[in-house]
Amino acid sequence: MLNSSAAGSPLAVDASGVAKSFGSVTALSGIDLAVPAGTLAALLGPNGAGKTTLVRIVATLTRPDRGRVRVLGFDVAAQPGEVRRRIGLTGQFAGLDDALSGTENLVLIGRLAGLRRREARARASQVAELVAMASAAGRSVRTYSGGMRRRLDLAASLMTSPPLLVLDEPTTGLDPASRQQLWQALAGLRAAGTTMLLTTQYLEEADRFADQVHVLDRGAIIASGTPAQLKSLVGGQVVEIALADPGAGQSAAGYPAANCLAAGYPAPDGLALDAEAVARALAGRLDLPPGSVRAESSARRLTVLTRTGTDGDAGVLLDVAAALRADGVPVADLALRQPSLDEAFLALTGRPEVAA
């Protein structure tokens, strides 16, 4: 596990050896997690990896079977009340009363959190402003869109200005514009110093916003680090290949069929080359494990994940080009780039993020 340089700064979340089972299902098996104050930590992982269980434990909603969790210096099991005074939770489902207006919800939640009536009212209009909901706050929550609900829910968890925000998939199910608005609000909070622990299914969000990314898989943290550190875990570089369209401009007969056959491709009898077959043959020629050359679903693009080569070293690109030429594979475009967080995730968990 990579350790970021957080030495000296106090920890907002300090968890060690956290385990939790539901019946025979192990949700978490000994998690260590440190979130320095003032940072944004993202929990990433496939569905069922234990992300929600972990944030629920931090938010005092679930008790761990084993291990110790301290939130802003307070133990979640021994002093849940102290923890609750200092956190704001935005759960997977909006914690709002549909039959009340936005403002009524905010005031109720603020007052239950301990604010006096006048404070709660003043704060409600502040937080509604903050999440761009001021104009809709008087309306019944029932009339809100999914994005508005999410933003009001976030506003509700900000009523007491908590130093730690816990967000469980705050942007799931939102359209891109709503997601953008929510992230704007979160960015403003982070700039003001709020610590955030969030789960997300969107790798590009973690990439763009998180200081630290923790990758969960089957109840364990399998990697932690900055997005850049995680990407470098993949090692090497990525070559992207766009196959030429044999139908356009060139005739299929122009391909050296003998070469294709020798390399194990199906003969290009006037049809498009099989990208999967090209991927297999290329892996063989470059002496790479089969999984590192992937044909994308569009069937005309391939990515080659190499463990050799570093930034600024185009040797890999030349090797790939030579292999393709040797097999006579028509290529429209070749490019060299750094791995994405998606590829890091795939390399770490052995499967794509979307797989449940």
């Binding site: 005074r85 709002l96 959190a113 200005s161 130093p163 003001a192 709020t194």
Partner: protein
């Protein structure tokens, strides 16, 4: 605002939360949750049709159809009216009680349960607050029923004090059944199932009781059940109070029922609400 003037939620801004003493919090939070339910009713007056309007329609229909019957062997015409009204008051309280459990279940199934559990609020207040809101509904329901029944010929011989007593009995009985419905709903833990299951026993205990007919006139197999039934106890107490007879025995009988209903399912319901997975 004592905190977070311009910086909206800074870590250093602290929190403006004022946390009164825990015992005071229970009362305060219960009031806030009760206020929430009453506010919802004010914004959605349609929700009052079931607990307030429908009972009045039922009462009017029942009294118009059966009001002039004689009750018992040698009673005067119209005596059945005096017998029936207390039964209808209690029957309606029993039929309103399932809404308590359903409302709690709705909250438990939405994100609100997690929201409440993550707040530094008193946990029993979620249930107690709902009961507080329900108490208002039961009181208004009983008062309206009494008022309309009086117009239709029902008499409370003990005057206003007796009427106030009757309203209080309806509230206490309704809340006890509400507690039972809260526990059952949380036990069933599925809104749709609960909706279909909870009303049935409410109807059954109302009919297999002395609400609509003296126990002696019920089918033989019903009589032991009807005698051992909180609906009978509550209706009998209201009858005694309306007629002005000695109320000690029915009072203590009902008090025992309420104590049992509140204590056992109440503790179980609060525990179930608090139990985090």
């Amino acid at each position: 605002m004592t905190a977070a003037g311009t910086a909206p939620a800074g870590a250093g801004a602290g929190h403006a939360a004022v946390l009164p003493h825990l015992r005071y919090r229970l009362v305060r939070d219960t009031g806030l949750i009760a206020g929430r339910y009453l506010r919802v009713l004010r914004r959605n007056p349609g929700r009052l049709i079931y607990p307030l309007l429908q009972p009045l329609v039922l009462l009017t229909l029942f009294l118009s159809v059966f009001g002039n019957l004689a009750a018992g062997r040698n009673a005067a015409p119209g005596a059945y009216r005096e017998f029936l009204v207390p039964g209808i008051i209690i029957q309606n309280a029993a039929l309103t009680a399932p809404t308590t459990g359903l409302a709690l279940l709705r909250d438990a199934g939405s994100g609100l349960a997690d929201r409440f559990r993550s707040l530094p609020m008193s946990r029993p207040a979620v249930l107690l607050g709902r009961l507080g809101g329900d108490a208002v509904i039961y009181a208004v329901q009983a008062a309206l029923l009494l008022g309309v029944a009086t117009v239709l010929g029902f008499t409370v011989r003990t005057g206003l004090a007796g009427a106030a007593g009757i309203v209080n009995i309806a509230v206490a009985f309704g809340l006890a059944i509400s507690v039972l419905s809260a526990w059952l709903a949380l036990l069933i833990n599925d809104a749709e199932t609960a909706e279909r299951v909870l009303f049935f026993p409410a109807i059954a205990i109302a009919f297999v009781s002395s609400a609509f007919a003296p126990v002696a006139d019920l089918a033989g197999w019903m009589r032991p059940v009807a005698r051992f039934n909180p609906v009978s106890a509550a209706a009998d107490l209201i009858r005694t109070l309306a007629a002005g007879g000695p109320a000690a025995r029915p009072f203590w009988l009902l008090a025992c029922w309420i104590a049992v209903l509140v204590a056992v399912p109440g503790v179980l319901a609060v525990r179930r609400w608090q139990a985090s997975p």
